[in-house]
Symmetry: C2
Subunit: 78 residues, 2 copies
DNA sequence: CATAGGGTAAGCATATATGTCAACAATTAA
DNA sequence: TTAATTGTTGACATATATGCTTACCCTATG
Protein backbone atom coordinates (compact mmCIF):
# COMPACT_ATOMS: atom_id res chain seq x y z
CA UNK A 1 0.00 0.00 0.00
CA UNK A 2 1.45 3.30 -1.03
CA UNK A 3 1.36 6.76 0.43
CA UNK A 4 -1.56 8.93 -0.59
CA UNK A 5 -1.19 12.17 -2.50
CA UNK A 6 -2.86 14.20 0.23
CA UNK A 7 -0.01 13.33 2.56
CA UNK A 8 2.51 14.34 -0.08
CA UNK A 9 0.88 17.73 -0.41
CA UNK A 10 0.81 18.16 3.34
CA UNK A 11 4.49 17.33 3.48
CA UNK A 12 5.29 19.76 0.68
CA UNK A 13 3.49 22.50 2.56
CA UNK A 14 5.30 21.76 5.80
CA UNK A 15 8.59 21.74 3.97
CA UNK A 16 7.74 25.17 2.58
CA UNK A 17 6.82 26.48 6.00
CA UNK A 18 10.11 25.24 7.38
CA UNK A 19 12.03 26.92 4.58
CA UNK A 20 10.20 30.18 5.23
CA UNK A 21 10.89 29.91 8.94
CA UNK A 22 14.62 29.49 8.35
CA UNK A 23 14.71 32.22 5.73
CA UNK A 24 13.02 34.69 8.09
CA UNK A 25 15.34 33.69 10.92
CA UNK A 26 18.17 34.83 8.65
CA UNK A 27 16.28 38.06 8.02
CA UNK A 28 16.19 37.52 4.30
CA UNK A 29 13.38 38.36 1.90
CA UNK A 30 12.40 35.89 -0.80
CA UNK A 31 14.20 38.20 -3.19
CA UNK A 32 17.35 38.14 -1.05
CA UNK A 33 17.33 34.38 -1.03
CA UNK A 34 16.60 34.13 -4.72
CA UNK A 35 19.48 36.46 -5.49
CA UNK A 36 21.96 34.69 -3.25
CA UNK A 37 21.32 31.30 -4.78
CA UNK A 38 20.52 32.29 -8.33
CA UNK A 39 16.99 30.96 -8.29
CA UNK A 40 13.89 32.86 -9.35
CA UNK A 41 11.85 34.62 -6.67
CA UNK A 42 8.87 32.96 -8.32
CA UNK A 43 10.40 29.58 -7.57
CA UNK A 44 11.06 30.44 -3.95
CA UNK A 45 7.45 31.49 -3.56
CA UNK A 46 6.21 28.29 -5.18
CA UNK A 47 8.31 26.17 -2.87
CA UNK A 48 7.40 28.05 0.31
CA UNK A 49 3.73 27.66 -0.47
CA UNK A 50 4.01 23.96 -1.21
CA UNK A 51 2.89 24.47 -4.76
CA UNK A 52 5.80 22.54 -6.23
CA UNK A 53 7.52 19.20 -5.70
CA UNK A 54 11.02 20.53 -5.41
CA UNK A 55 14.21 18.67 -6.18
CA UNK A 56 17.34 17.62 -4.32
CA UNK A 57 19.38 20.03 -6.38
CA UNK A 58 17.22 22.98 -5.41
CA UNK A 59 17.29 21.94 -1.75
CA UNK A 60 21.08 21.84 -1.83
CA UNK A 61 21.33 25.24 -3.48
CA UNK A 62 18.94 26.79 -0.99
CA UNK A 63 20.55 25.24 2.06
CA UNK A 64 23.94 26.55 0.93
CA UNK A 65 22.52 30.03 0.47
CA UNK A 66 20.95 29.89 3.93
CA UNK A 67 24.12 28.49 5.48
CA UNK A 68 22.31 25.56 7.04
CA UNK A 69 22.74 21.85 6.71
CA UNK A 70 20.15 20.45 4.37
CA UNK A 71 18.57 18.28 7.00
CA UNK A 72 17.52 21.40 8.90
CA UNK A 73 15.00 21.87 6.13
CA UNK A 74 13.40 18.67 7.38
CA UNK A 75 13.44 19.53 11.06
CA UNK A 76 9.67 19.61 11.54
CA UNK A 77 6.87 17.34 12.65
CA UNK A 78 4.25 16.13 10.25
CA UNK B 1 28.18 33.32 -6.45
CA UNK B 2 26.30 30.09 -6.86
CA UNK B 3 27.08 26.48 -6.12
CA UNK B 4 28.84 24.57 -8.88
CA UNK B 5 27.34 21.60 -10.64
CA UNK B 6 30.18 19.31 -9.61
CA UNK B 7 29.12 19.74 -6.01
CA UNK B 8 25.54 18.99 -6.89
CA UNK B 9 26.57 15.74 -8.54
CA UNK B 10 28.71 14.82 -5.55
CA UNK B 11 25.79 15.45 -3.27
CA UNK B 12 23.45 13.40 -5.43
CA UNK B 13 25.89 10.50 -5.28
CA UNK B 14 26.24 10.74 -1.51
CA UNK B 15 22.48 10.85 -1.15
CA UNK B 16 22.27 7.69 -3.23
CA UNK B 17 24.90 5.96 -1.12
CA UNK B 18 23.01 6.88 2.02
CA UNK B 19 19.78 5.52 0.61
CA UNK B 20 21.51 2.28 -0.34
CA UNK B 21 23.03 2.02 3.12
CA UNK B 22 19.66 2.38 4.80
CA UNK B 23 17.97 0.02 2.36
CA UNK B 24 20.59 -2.67 3.00
CA UNK B 25 20.32 -2.14 6.75
CA UNK B 26 16.67 -3.08 6.36
CA UNK B 27 17.71 -6.14 4.35
CA UNK B 28 15.71 -5.08 1.36
CA UNK B 29 16.61 -5.46 -2.29
CA UNK B 30 16.00 -2.63 -4.72
CA UNK B 31 13.07 -4.67 -5.96
CA UNK B 32 11.68 -5.01 -2.44
CA UNK B 33 11.89 -1.29 -1.94
CA UNK B 34 10.42 -0.52 -5.33
CA UNK B 35 7.51 -2.84 -4.64
CA UNK B 36 6.81 -1.47 -1.19
CA UNK B 37 6.62 2.11 -2.34
CA UNK B 38 5.24 1.63 -5.82
CA UNK B 39 8.24 3.10 -7.60
CA UNK B 40 10.08 1.49 -10.47
CA UNK B 41 13.20 -0.53 -9.68
CA UNK B 42 14.79 1.46 -12.48
CA UNK B 43 14.13 4.63 -10.57
CA UNK B 44 15.59 3.25 -7.36
CA UNK B 45 18.75 2.26 -9.21
CA UNK B 46 19.04 5.69 -10.81
CA UNK B 47 18.69 7.42 -7.47
CA UNK B 48 21.14 5.15 -5.64
CA UNK B 49 23.73 5.77 -8.31
CA UNK B 50 23.27 9.51 -8.26
CA UNK B 51 22.19 9.57 -11.85
CA UNK B 52 19.05 11.57 -11.15
CA UNK B 53 18.08 14.73 -9.30
CA UNK B 54 15.29 13.24 -7.26
CA UNK B 55 12.30 15.07 -5.84
CA UNK B 56 10.81 15.71 -2.42
CA UNK B 57 7.86 13.52 -3.27
CA UNK B 58 10.06 10.57 -4.11
CA UNK B 59 12.10 11.10 -0.94
CA UNK B 60 8.93 11.06 1.14
CA UNK B 61 7.64 7.91 -0.51
CA UNK B 62 10.95 6.14 -0.03
CA UNK B 63 11.40 7.20 3.57
CA UNK B 64 7.93 5.94 4.40
CA UNK B 65 8.67 2.60 2.77
CA UNK B 66 11.91 2.33 4.72
CA UNK B 67 10.23 3.40 7.95
CA UNK B 68 12.73 6.14 8.61
CA UNK B 69 12.37 9.84 9.07
CA UNK B 70 13.23 11.64 5.88
CA UNK B 71 16.13 13.49 7.41
CA UNK B 72 17.93 10.20 7.96
CA UNK B 73 18.42 10.19 4.21
CA UNK B 74 20.60 13.26 4.75
CA UNK B 75 22.60 11.92 7.66
CA UNK B 76 25.96 11.90 5.90
CA UNK B 77 29.01 14.11 5.54
CA UNK B 78 29.85 15.76 2.27
C1' DC C 1 -2.42 60.58 -4.83
C1' DA C 2 2.37 57.98 -6.21
C1' DT C 3 6.29 54.98 -5.25
C1' DA C 4 8.68 51.08 -3.40
C1' DG C 5 9.15 46.57 -1.21
C1' DG C 6 7.50 41.96 -0.46
C1' DG C 7 4.95 38.33 -2.09
C1' DT C 8 1.76 35.71 -5.30
C1' DA C 9 0.39 34.07 -9.69
C1' DA C 10 -0.50 32.98 -14.77
C1' DG C 11 1.52 31.56 -19.13
C1' DC C 12 4.89 29.59 -21.92
C1' DA C 13 9.53 27.30 -23.00
C1' DT C 14 12.98 24.15 -21.71
C1' DA C 15 15.00 20.66 -19.00
C1' DT C 16 14.58 16.53 -16.66
C1' DA C 17 12.38 12.86 -13.23
C1' DT C 18 9.85 8.96 -13.43
C1' DG C 19 7.12 5.20 -15.80
C1' DT C 20 7.55 1.67 -18.83
C1' DC C 21 9.64 -1.88 -21.44
C1' DA C 22 13.51 -4.35 -23.10
C1' DA C 23 18.03 -5.94 -22.77
C1' DC C 24 22.07 -7.05 -20.38
C1' DA C 25 25.71 -8.23 -16.56
C1' DA C 26 27.00 -10.42 -12.35
C1' DT C 27 26.15 -13.57 -8.85
C1' DT C 28 24.36 -17.72 -6.81
C1' DA C 29 22.47 -22.12 -6.90
C1' DA C 30 20.90 -26.28 -9.05
C1' DT D 1 25.44 -26.01 -18.30
C1' DT D 2 20.65 -23.68 -16.94
C1' DA D 3 17.81 -20.87 -14.01
C1' DA D 4 16.92 -17.35 -10.60
C1' DT D 5 18.11 -13.13 -8.24
C1' DT D 6 19.87 -8.56 -8.19
C1' DG D 7 21.17 -4.55 -10.25
C1' DT D 8 22.29 -1.51 -14.36
C1' DT D 9 21.30 0.76 -18.62
C1' DG D 10 19.09 2.61 -22.90
C1' DA D 11 15.12 4.49 -25.24
C1' DC D 12 10.95 6.75 -25.36
C1' DA D 13 6.55 9.00 -23.47
C1' DT D 14 4.50 11.77 -20.09
C1' DA D 15 4.43 14.78 -16.27
C1' DT D 16 6.23 18.58 -13.99
C1' DA D 17 10.10 21.81 -11.90
C1' DT D 18 12.23 25.83 -12.94
C1' DG D 19 13.40 29.99 -15.89
C1' DC D 20 11.46 33.89 -17.47
C1' DT D 21 8.20 37.58 -18.22
C1' DT D 22 4.34 40.06 -17.01
C1' DA D 23 0.95 41.47 -13.99
C1' DC D 24 -1.20 41.85 -9.78
C1' DC D 25 -2.21 42.48 -4.49
C1' DC D 26 -0.82 44.44 -0.02
C1' DT D 27 1.44 47.42 3.06
C1' DA D 28 4.00 51.30 4.17
C1' DT D 29 5.75 55.69 3.22
C1' DG D 30 6.16 59.98 0.66
Amino acid sequence: MSIDSKKILTYQKEFGKQLKKIRLSKKMSQLDLAASCDLEKTSISRIENGRTNTTLKTMIIISEALNVNIYELFDFEI
